[in-house]
Symmetry: C2
Subunit: 674 residues, 2 copies
């Protein structure tokens, strides 16, 4: 087809398409198909409906946009460029997918301003959208006044077939329907093509009916391809209709053609994830009547799209006025909001954290954690969270606040249901909403396996989430190996940028939360015991904050016969074994190592003071895999651990049978001492 | 209520309830609520409908039963005992949840005969059910003849609210609907209680409508509680109706009362996961008119239930006759079936595996893997599998067979859709079906994070699954850190009983498949490169099968200046660096360590021959986390690895920037040599 004249809207839509085509072509890598197909709906959304300020990507009340189908990121980069964000210039687009560029292969919020959350792993973005909508609902309920709606924005998600096949999106959608999140709008890019070919080979369910079953408001639009203003209008109308439904999230299935415009590759898998190739790019230019050069955007299109800058500035200015009025009338609320958004914590907030002495009674660290969460919640109104249906076991319920439900979004107890993976992505989005909220999500440690990608993304996306993971070893007992973590603590320690804390007692649990709250760009995972643990002599918040420290010693490094290194529930075993060996005249030290990442970040001098290189005989004791412990125990050391699956039995029996008893620790220590 | 006389069916149902109540009470641990509530439906199923032979739990054509809500395992143990399985006697029930018992806290197939698959982590069982039904459909299509239906069984699943909240069940259900698995019947124990209370707090979707959207046949039954034969009949009728629908899987929502019979705890969270307590047990006995002692089963009930033994023997005898006829008529098919079921592989099957010499051209191990899969598929008709929508990238498509679809269940290319977690549980069930099938499931290595619990369960449940994981390092390149595995290989190595192979070239890839196919009780995960790798001098299937071996040396242990230890794509770097160092007069050895688990299983003597303790200067090179490598590199060694997230850039650039180049390896080696 030859398009003689194109309306400015068509020019904008084709600009998106050809920026994507040219960038993928230059990189010889990427996914042109989605941007080519979804350009019209994205254009309508960004041009006619979405409220955002390109010159201030952090404007609190902006609408949030999530590209759940993150592989189509050239769509998002094109939108950011055309709308006038400073983060993506045309040179950045030319650097698509290159080292150190602002335009990586999937959208990463920590690299590109204007990208709200890191997506790519499919389905995550749908759940992120639910999290943003929950954050908005909560902040609105908390801060809005009858005469002032200072928090009032939508969350838009573009999701693909793959997103809708992934279980995580179903989990999140079920919860969103339950919660009636009226300001969440998901546009489903229904192009019927996935990597193995037509979605007919594996995905023939009635997606709209499924979302109806979840309690969503559901529509279907044939998008058209931007040549027909009628079809753009119908998308806009559908979005308007979605906005008008305020008590249900909205799902709009928009039927599209992947790779629209490419004469030979449209509607095929071939256009999903590879450059079109020189010839086909040329044919596509001809087909769409695109007489512009590589990376060239027609002046009219740019001028039209860039109206977003003025529009955004006006919108924010208006909001600033509203907020100034709000501030005048509701000084306390405004001050709290400003503090939260700034990321500042109240001065001395950490004074609320409990400390313990050996006289205090033994307590499961999950119980201590529950008390601390409640204490923090009273001090920090930004704390919000819950469990994947295990609150009574995880001890995560907050007493002084109610349940976050439809009609009570201002409350802070979240009920995620048995949906760990969605919980993860929702927490990530709450943390990245920009309102200063500090989310926590809880389940049994073993079920981090159900949400591992979301935990990984919390680390990559620099989301301050607190992962509260209880029942942290075979001490779980009777529930048996399906519920007993073995490799989990170690496997989480190796996720970059994730802080993993396995506290041994109350002071260390307080330290874990102090670190978690104060680490603005890191998630922290806290592994907590089911069983009671004594309050240990020598522990403190200050020491534990260093990640590792000498719990007890009294000998010079050169004298040491052995260093015990323990974490969590097994630190007590180290202390007891050390007492026995000391009584026998051995010179031993006990080191607590609750957080490897923090310990590694200390100075060499400090690390040497804790684990002196001259003291080579070392024994680690941890009720988990020994994998990785050689880093600290070295050639002359050993580890008491468990490298098999656990077994169903009472917790103390399981611990004992697998060698977590004083006798075995002492015996192993003697072998190491030699 | 006082029940004056109980029908024998009521007695059976209450026997299930009180076995569960008493066992949980004795253990003071467990989940009585589900067995008390679901006993009627389970009884009807096992007494009136299900075909099984208690005296031969391995009978090929038995119906499969999966308790997806595995925490309710006392239901299953009670059924096994009452039906007359030898694996669970009354003494075993008294040992519920104790060390080394046959009745662990969740059902484990490798411990208790009659349990088909290990469940407990919620939702897995629904997907396992889909896998069993797929295995049945495949075996039926492959072996049945117009005059002889030797494979013809149903798969029944009991699932709870939690199972239906988990994304994995949605993924599997969508696929099952697509495939039209008419012999899969899921009974949904709809008791509206989860751990945090009423499911109303998080789960208010219309589950039946959702399953309709997936393309299932859907019914709803009010179960009643066993006092009313009408309600038992209505369950039976619903199951019969489900069986009559042959082109769709069936979902039967059975509304129940959790903890039925307990006057104070019925329909509460309190009865979900804790013993009732002495007083409440007494009240429950009174309430249900149960005048029998602890663990006592009325003789009438046992006699009635044990008719399952004769019924089962007859059913199997009849089937044996059918099979004898089949064998007479279709000797080849019968021989193949018998071989597959026996677990025997064809003599010399492994001769089909390709071998390589350094003259053969470089190839990505994912491509080699694709060729090997095709070769094996031609040799082993039991191989069946596919990818979670990445077959063109994972290279997993089989050329000489078609797609497994409705109407072509005899084909062997599975299309899982973008549903990694369901794929995992489906593969587990195909492996555990007992028909000798060898399933493989594929995705990008980084997305093992989406299916980690299923991979873990494959190891625990001793399921021979081949996990084909391509794109195994930052060499993935442009897709960036969301798609670049860093910690994954190491984190998988620490899962007990899982064999993780990272082959360096063609011979090692052949070795990985040889090990995978021949390890009848272990899953094997093969991590494969996206990029081309050369065929290395010194590699062989035989050597690689040992997990680790000397690739090149020529020096005595005492002389060695350095040992390089590499895996996968980085073994080539070791070889090149070794050549440079040798040219400079250094005495170096190159060790390949493709599978740590297999290497650790070798004799101490062999391990010493590969990594002599006298040679302490060692350098590992692997494009993944250094976590765990200290085990082999020791106090005097070092590791070239990556402990941060990767970055979007062409693969060779990313590798180079992160130090995976010959210069850096040589420089680091020299530092180690000192």
């Amino acid at each position: 087809m030859v398009v003689a004249t194109q309306s400015v809207e068509q020019l904008c839509i084709n600009s998106i398409r050809f920026l994507a085509i040219d960038a993928v072509e230059k990189a010889n890598s990427g996914h042109p198909g989605l941007p080519m197909g979804a350009a019209p709906m994205a254009f309508v959304l960004w041009d006619r409906l979405m409220r955002y300020n390109p010159k201030n990507p952090n404007w609190l009340n902006r609408d949030r946009f999530v590209l759940s189908a993150g592989h189509g990121c050239m769509l998002q980069y094109a939108l950011l460029y055309l709308a006038g964000y400073d983060s993506v210039g045309i040179e950045d687009i030319k650097q698509f997918r290159q080292w150190d560029s602002k335009t990586p292969g999937h959208p990463e919020n920590h690299i590109t301003k204007g990208v709200e959350v890191t997506t790519g792993p499919l389905g995550q973005g749908v759940a992120n959208g639910v999290g943003f909508a929950m954050a908005e609902a909560h902040m609105a309920a908390k801060f809005n006044k009858p005469d002032s709606q200072i928090i009032d924005h939508y969350t838009y998600v573009i999701a693909g077939d793959g997103c809708n096949m992934e279980g995580i999106s179903g989990e999140a959608a079920s919860l969103a329907g339950h919660l009636g999140l009226g300001k969440l709008i998901v546009l489903y890019d229904d192009n019927s093509i996935s990597i193995e070919g037509s979605t007919d080979i594996a995905f023939t369910e009635d997606v709209n009916k499924r979302f109806e079953a979840y309690g969503w408001h559901v529509q279907h639009v044939e998008q058209g391809n931007g040549e027909d203003n009628g079809s753009l209008d119908s998308i806009a109308k559908a979005i308007e209709a979605a906005k008008a439904v305020t008590d249900k999230p909205s799902f709009i299935k928009v039927t599209t053609l992947i790779g629209y415009g490419s004469p030979n590759k449209v509607n095929t898998y071939g256009v999903h994830g590879a450059a079109l190739g020189t010839d086909e790019v040329k044919l596509t230019r001809e087909n769409l009547g695109w007489n512009y050069g590589e990376f060239e955007v027609p002046g009219d299109a740019l001028a039209h799209f860039r109206k977003a800058v003025d529009r955004g500035a006006e919108a924010e200015a208006e909001w600033n006025k509203t907020f100034a009025d709000y501030k005048a009338k509701y000084a306390d609320s405004a001050a709290l909001l400003e503090r939260m958004v700034s990321g500042e914590l109240p001065a001395n907030w950490a004074d609320c954290l409990p400390t313990y002495t050996p006289e205090d009674k033994a307590e499961a660290t999950r119980n201590t954690s529950g008390k601390i969460l409640n204490t923090i919640a009273d001090t920090l109104p930004e704390l919000i969270g819950g469990s994947a249906d295990l609150a009574p076991s995880n001890k995560t319920a907050l007493k002084n606040t109610g349940d976050f439900q439809k009609g009570s979004y201002g409350e802070r107890n979240l009920h995620f249901g048995v949906r760990e993976h969605a919980m993860g992505a929702i927490c990530n989005a709450i943390a990245l909403h920009g309102s200063g909220l500090i989310p926590y999500g809880a389940t049994f440690l073993v079920f981090t396996d159900y949400m591992r990608n979301a935990i990984r993304l919390s680390a990559l996306a620099e989301a301050r989430v607190i992962w509260v993971m209880t029942h942290d070893s075979i001490a779980v007992g009777e529930d048996g190996p399906t519920h007993q973590p073995v490799e989990h603590v170690a496997s989480l320690r190796m996720i970059p940028q994730l802080q993993v804390f396995r506290p041994a007692d109350g002071n260390e649990t307080s330290a874990a939360y102090k670190v978690a709250v104060e680490s603005k760009k890191h998630p922290t995972l806290i592994a907590l015991s089911r069983q009671n643990l004594p309050q240990l002599e020598g522990s403190s918040i200050e020491k534990a904050e260093k990640g590792g420290y000498v719990l007890s010693c009294g000998f010079a490094p050169e004298e040491l016969d052995l260093i015990f290194i323990g974490t969590g529930s097994e630190l007590e075993l180290c202390v007891k074994a050390a007492d026995i060996l000391k009584a026998e005249g051995k010179k031993v030290r006990v080191v607590s190592l609750p957080c490897w990442e923090l310990f590694e970040a200390q100075s060499e001098e400090y690390k040497e003071s804790v684990l002196p290189s001259v003291a080579k005989k070392r024994l680690s004791v941890e009720a988990g895999t020994t994998f990785g412990w050689q880093r600290y125990t070295g050639d002359n050391g050993a580890s008491v651990g468990i490298d098999t699956f656990g077994a169903s039995a009472p917790g103390d029996v399981a611990l004992d049978k697998f060698g977590f008893n004083v006798d075995n620790v002492v015996a192993t220590a003697k072998k190491v001492i030699g």
